[in-house]
Amino acid sequence: MNQSAAVQALILTGFGINCEEEMAAAYRLAGAEATIVHLNQVLHGQVSIHDYDILNFPGGFSFGDDLGSGVVLAKKLRYRQTPGGFTLLDDLREFISRGKFVLGICNGFQVLVKLGLLPNLGGNFEPEVTLTHNVSGRYEDRWVRLKVNANNRSPFLQGLDSFEVPVRHGEGRLLIPDEATRQRILDQNLNCLTYCDATGCEVTQYPHNPNGADLNCAGLTDTTGQVFGLMPHPEAFLSLYNHPDWARRKRVNKELSEEGDGLKLFRNIVKHVASLPHRSASSASLESVETPLR
């Protein structure tokens, strides 16, 4: 693949994942090529993640979240072996070591945390924190504003100060088991997104923070900045018309952009990947890859 070729985003689906279409739309609107594949196509060796620049775990209810959100999918990635005798976790290590990017949103974030990809302070892909039931004990759909940690490590968040997004989850509360872990997350600026009010000031109270998360945390990166996960849904705010207050804002400001805040994250990563000097690892076999669930 030559360097002018489009940035390739791989989006996993199947087994209860359900936000794959808007995720694909986000990448396409940002100028990338998006391919949706069933997880089994990857597990059965029909699709290789290494053919892509960005691997995406969308939101949904993988395996119904019956054992806790994201747990069963995380275990599948850790233990289930491909025909070649590798697990997908092995593949992910390799993928990250090649300098590529992983994004998990909502259920995808839960998977990355339970798989040990986030925050991965120890570098050995073991779970270090968890995401569990909101303090309210209930699932909620509401809009929040997030403040971006100015020292964050993710190219997704470059140039952003704060943005609005919907949250739609019942298990979005980050729980950090000990003070040492908490401090290391803070010291390394892995706590990349926090809940804030309309003016961009951090607020821990409900409903600004909808779940009671430790560190008021809405999203994490790993220490490389290549792995990024968040509870809210930027892929659900691609256009102005997703916002609950779009009609009033448009009335007040006729020049308002029709793009949603969430699209900025995808534009950022696509631009970043496209600008990488040695983006040559992708194979040339993309044309043969099927996009079954588009």
């Binding site: 087994f15 909101n134 509401r142 009033r248």
Partner: protein, 1043 residues
């Protein structure tokens, strides 16, 4: 102790907030008055699978335990000594256990072995430990009322040092026998036979069955096929299911003798469905086509109706009810209602539509009811919460946004609630080169069952929902949905249809295989099924049970023999179980076998056409009604409304308390506050926020909007995809209150309500211009009490049936007036709950669920005021129509002047509003319904900190101007610079009321007096803290100990 039965218990680690336990303790105190002390909630997994001790430990610690949250106990029930009693909640044998299945899935991955996840090896349970030493009766009550449902759960309770376990055992008895049943008995015995076996067939129908078996040709055929002369159990079950009211709509097809008792007028209605619905839509279709609008593709002939969006896509729309199951198991009833309704558009035509959104409309008794309950009657609050949770899981876990809905409260829904589930979907016009909406089947095509396995759940659902509920209603009629199983099947179906592998499909809902295969066989002309091949959840089902079981998440697929291998391979790849269970024929018989031996053979013509026509009696007697006396009085600065009782016996309908004084005087501002805090008007936010209403990223108008996220909207608007701005508006019209005065006007009003909500958001009526291509697609759903007259058991049946006739007549008139077609619908005829000699019947209810194409979703209009200085208008005319109003309801009055729809006036107004929207002249638009103008004005301020200054100048009494619920009206705002253009279009249909202000005050003047003066923040508070949000509660952070 059986071999290979291990248990894994997960307990919250010390210091970890146990929210689940805390909520149980709080609910026990709040709802049951039981002091439990601290409650600890633990998860238990019983594993019936050979594992070494090390494997068990590793599996528990690495797959089930979250090291941050849990401690693990193996093969013991660990507890802190402070806990004195326990409740173990297990699932009954054969009940869907998704959590156990997921654990099994993880075990298979962990062992890296293929593990058959459809045979249950792991059983999930909850073990609750309670600080107080409660007696077993209290523990059992807590278990049955808060933690499970005795129909599907198994409870063990007692002191915590004597914990008993329960693990379902697979059935071992295998009984494949088929029995014959003797129909050559007396009429009384026939009727008793029907009742005992839950056939729900009446005497005439049983006699018709008997006559079929006595025919010489039937006897010859049976002899030739090796079947006994007497019917088999399976055959009678098939006939009962096929002829059930649920499947055959016998009452909507009946011949009705109608009589008006006052005028003496008499006439016959030759099928309500044909006369008022099907023929009316055919006439609409004729008018549409004459005008170049040929978007009506499929009506009344498949699982869902279909209309054309554009050259590439169809919109598919279906709304159904799931009332009876929701009455006895609210959670299971609602979740299977949602998932079952999802399968209708999924399996329309060839199948494989993509689900776009869900809606739900719910009717409950008052959740604050504090009177006695009848045997097996669940408390309305429990039904409400269970149904709400079922909708949450059914929609959210399927990834389908719940974009619109409504909740109606009336004490007459306390026996049977109404649970309406709607689903919109998009399907390509062509699938692999074929018209997607067609169902074609040829002799020799294979019958493939896809999705879940078959168990005893849901046996007799179709016949059960066709009778009234009573104390003895069967537990087997309850099913539990598994959204994840269905999601897998749905993903498979979408892919398989795109590849051209599926010839057509249908869902397995009511009646199971009997219904799905029986109906599809009508296309080819017959079918052969071998029940031995049907995969079961557990052994022990008899052949007839396999055939009629309503186990969920199943589709029946039609596959050409040459494509079978490819279909099966794809199913394996996507982990969806597919089984070839037989083939279609053209020989005119439904032929069912078990391991090759005949079990049933029925003539298709007899099966589908043999049911005797029902003849019913309707007689109309106008109920007495009168208006209460309403006076307006000035008391210093405040305006008061005083109401004197009408002495109408029908007025004292509600059980809630009220001021006994003969005359009640309340200030007009207080009336508004009381209306906003009333059960049928107050905010539903606590419910709405627990539904995902924006997954898929396409919801443009959500249920609540504005800067506050709290302004209620009229119709929802959803765009179809990310490539165009085309979309669909979705609305619901339901107004059972008005039916107490006049069923015709209730039905017409509900229809108009749904239309005007779509007009409010910027939708346009269809067929106004040639080839405008604006589709409308409407589902009608009638839910009525038993309307079949019987002098003893149903003495007012004729009156109820007359109301149904009137409701249908209004439907026909509305359809014709607006040129809006019905595309599908459903009727539910026996919404009564009988127990302890008491019958609770729902009020006659009809829901119109409407969808209409929106050409550009960016030009839609929301309900909330946008900017100070915008001019406020009332669109449409108010009449003195307080009858049945929420205002009268505050005074326990019904009144007499029911709101009427004036179709011609309404259509003219809606057309003009469309013209104003074409020029983008309207900044906000909110339809007027419950609570009238005053409530609509208040709600329009809820989006932001805005107010309004209003002056009422109409001639009507002030009470009517403020609170009349006259139809076809809106509150709209217009930017000052657009006022001239706007008034030019609307003319005298728009009345200028005032202006939007910056000062968050709602001020309404009338004849020099300020009649409403209210802080809009306070109005919103009252509305938000109303009884619904109080019942469901808000999601505040309530941190427990240890945080």
């Amino acid at each position: 102790m059986e071999t290979h039965l291990y248990s894994i218990q997960l307990l919250p680690k010390p210091g970890i907030h146990d929210g689940d336990g805390q909520r149980v303790a709080e609910a026990a105190q709040r709802h049951l008055g039981l002091r439990t002390g601290r409650v600890q909630s633990t998860a238990v997994y019983s594993v019936r699978y050979p594992l070494t001790a090390q494997q068990l430990q590793d599996f528990a610690e690495q797959c089930l335990q979250d090291p941050v949250l849990h401690e693990v106990a193996l093969n013991e029930f660990r507890r802190d000594p402070q806990f004195q009693s326990y409740i173990l909640v297990a699932k009954g044998p054969g009940v869907t256990d998704d959590e156990g299945t997921s654990a099994q899935n993880a075990l298979g991955d962990f062992l890296n072995q293929p593990l058959d996840t459809r045979t249950q090896h792991i059983f999930s349970k909850r073990l609750f430990l309670l600080e107080e030493n409660l007696p077993p009766t209290d523990l059992r009550r807590l278990a049955e009322e808060l933690l499970g449902n005795k129909l599907i759960s198994r409870f063990e309770v007692g002191p915590a040092d004597q914990i008993r376990d329960f693990t379902p055992r697979p059935g071992t008895s295998v009984d494949n026998t088929t029995h014959t049943i003797d129909l050559n008995v007396s009429d009384e015995a026939l009727v008793q036979l029907s009742k005992d076996n839950l056939y729900a067939l009446n005497l005439a129908e049983m006699q018709a069955v008997r006559a079929y078996y006595q025919l010489p040709e039937t006897q010859q055929e049976r002899q030739a096929s090796g079947l006994p002369a007497e019917p088999t159990d399976c055959e009678l079950e098939i006939i009962a299911q096929t002829w059930s009211e649920h499947c055959k709509h016998k009452e909507f097809s009946a011949l009705i003798n109608y009589r008006d008792a006052e005028t003496g007028e008499e006439y016959q209605v030759d099928s309500l469905f044909k006369t008022y619905i099907k023929d009316a839509t055919a006439e609409v279709d004729r008018q549409l086509r004459a005008n170049g609008n040929d978007w009506l593709i499929k009506v009344f002939s498949d699982n869902a109706g279909a209309v054309r969006i554009n050259d590439e896509s169809l919109f598919v729309w279906k709304v159904e009810t799931h009332n009876s199951p929701s009455a006895i198991d609210p959670y299971g009833g609602a979740i299977t209602g949602i998932l079952g309704n999802n399968r209708d558009p999924l399996a329309t035509g060839i199948g494989g539509a993509r689900l776009l959104f869900n809606t739900n409309v719910l009717c409950f008794g008052n959740p604050d009811y504090d009177g006695p309950l009848l045997t097996n009657q669940l408390h309305p609050r429990r039904i409400f919460e269970g149904v709400r949770k079922g909708i949450e899981d059914g929609g959210n876990k399927s990834g389908v946004p719940t974009v619109n809905g409504s909740i109606v409260f009336d004490d007459r829904y306390a026996g049977k609630p109404l649970v309406y589930c709607g689903t919109g979907a998009v399907m390509p016009m062509q699938l692999a080169g074929l018209d997607s909406w067609e169902k074609k089947i040829d002799d020799g095509d294979r019958i493939i069952m896809a999705g879940g396995r078959v168990g005893k759940d849901g046996i007799h659902g179709a016949t059960f929902s066709s009778i009234e509920l009573d104390e003895s209603s069967p537990a087997t009629a309850v099913q539990i949905g598994s959204p994840i199983t269905q999601k897998l099947a749905m993903d498979f179906l979408i892919l398989a249809t795109r590849r051209g592998l599926i010839k057509c499909s249908t869902d397995n809902g009511a009646g199971g295989l009997s219904s799905s295969v029986g109906e599809l066989a009508g296309i080819s002309g017959g079918a052969v099924v071998d029940l031995e091949k049907v995969p079961l959840k557990y052994p022990g089902l008899r052949p007839w049970e396999i055939f009629v079981s309503e186990s969920q998440e199943r589709f029946t697929l039609v596959v050409e023999p040459g494509k079978l291998a490819e279909v099966l391979a794809l199913g394996q790849e996507m982990e969806v179980e597919l089984t070839d269970i037989g083939y279609f024929t053209a020989d005119g018989y439904l032929d069912v076998r078990f391991a090759g031996a005949p079990v049933a053979q029925l003539n298709m013509h007899f099966l589908h056409e043999g049911v005797p026509r029902k003849i019913m009696e309707a007689e109309w007697q106008k109920p007495a009604a009168q208006e209460p006396k309403v006076e307006i009085r000035q008391n210093g600065v405040e305006t008061h409304i005083c109401v004197s009782p009408s002495n109408d016996p029908a007025a004292n309908r509600s059980a809630t308390s009220f001021d006994e004084e003969t005359q009640i005087c309340v200030s007009t501002t207080d009336v508004l506050f009381r209306l906003l805090g009333s059960l049928n008007i107050c905010s539903r936010e606590s419910v709405i926020r627990q539904y995902d209403h924006e997954v898929k990223g396409r919801t443009i108008i959500k249920p609540l909007m504005g800067a506050t996220g709290q302004a209620p909207q009229d119709a929802a608007v959803v765009r179809f995809n990310f490539e165009s701005w085309e979309g669909v508006a979705v609305s619901n019209g339901i107004q059972p209150r008005f039916g107490d005065l006049d069923a015709y006007h209730m039905s017409a009003g509900a229809f108009d309500e749904a239309v005007r909500q779509i007009i409010a958001v910027g939708g346009k009526l269809p067929n106004l211009t040639p080839g405008d291509n604006i589709f409308w697609s409407v589902n009608d759903n009638f839910c009525v009490p038993d309307s079949d007259f019987h002098p003893v058991t149903n003495p007012d049946g004729k009156q109820k049936l007359a109301k149904l006739v009137h409701m249908c007549q209004a439907l026909r008139d509305a359809t014709a007036a607006y040129c809006i077609p019905l595309t599908s619908g459903k009727d539910s005829m026996k919404n009564d709950f009988k127990a302890d000699g008491v019958k609770i019947s729902v009020p006659p209810t009809v829901l119109y669920s409407m969808t209409a194409k929106i050409e550009d979703v960016r030009r839609t209009v929301t309900s909330d005021f946008k900017q100070a200085g915008d001019v406020v208008y009332l669109l449409g005319r108010t009449y003195d129509e307080l009858g049945g109003s929420e205002f009268y309801q505050l005074y326990k009055e019904l009144g007499a002047n029911v709101p009427q729809v004036r179709f011609a006036e309404a259509k003219e107004l809606y057309t003009l509003i469309g013209q104003a929207n074409d020029q983008q002249l309207i900044q906000s638009c909110h339809d007027l319904s419950d609570g009238g103008l005053a409530v609509a004005l208040a709600e329009a301020t809820f989006g932001d900190g805005l107010g309004a200054k209003i002056e009422l100048t109409g001639e009507l009494p002030l009470s009517a101007q403020l609170f009349s619920e006259s139809h076809s009206r809106f509150v709209a705002t217009v930017a000052p610079e657009d006022v001239v253009a706007f008034e030019q279009i609307l003319g005298d249909k728009a009345t200028r009321l005032g202006v939007v202000t910056n000062d968050n005050f709602l001020l309404v003047g009338h004849q020099g007096q300020l009649v409403i003066e209210a802080d809009t923040e306070e109005l919103r508070q009252i509305w938000t803290n109303g009884p619904v949000n109080q019942t469901i509660g808000f999601g505040e952070h309530v941190m427990g100990e240890g945080k």
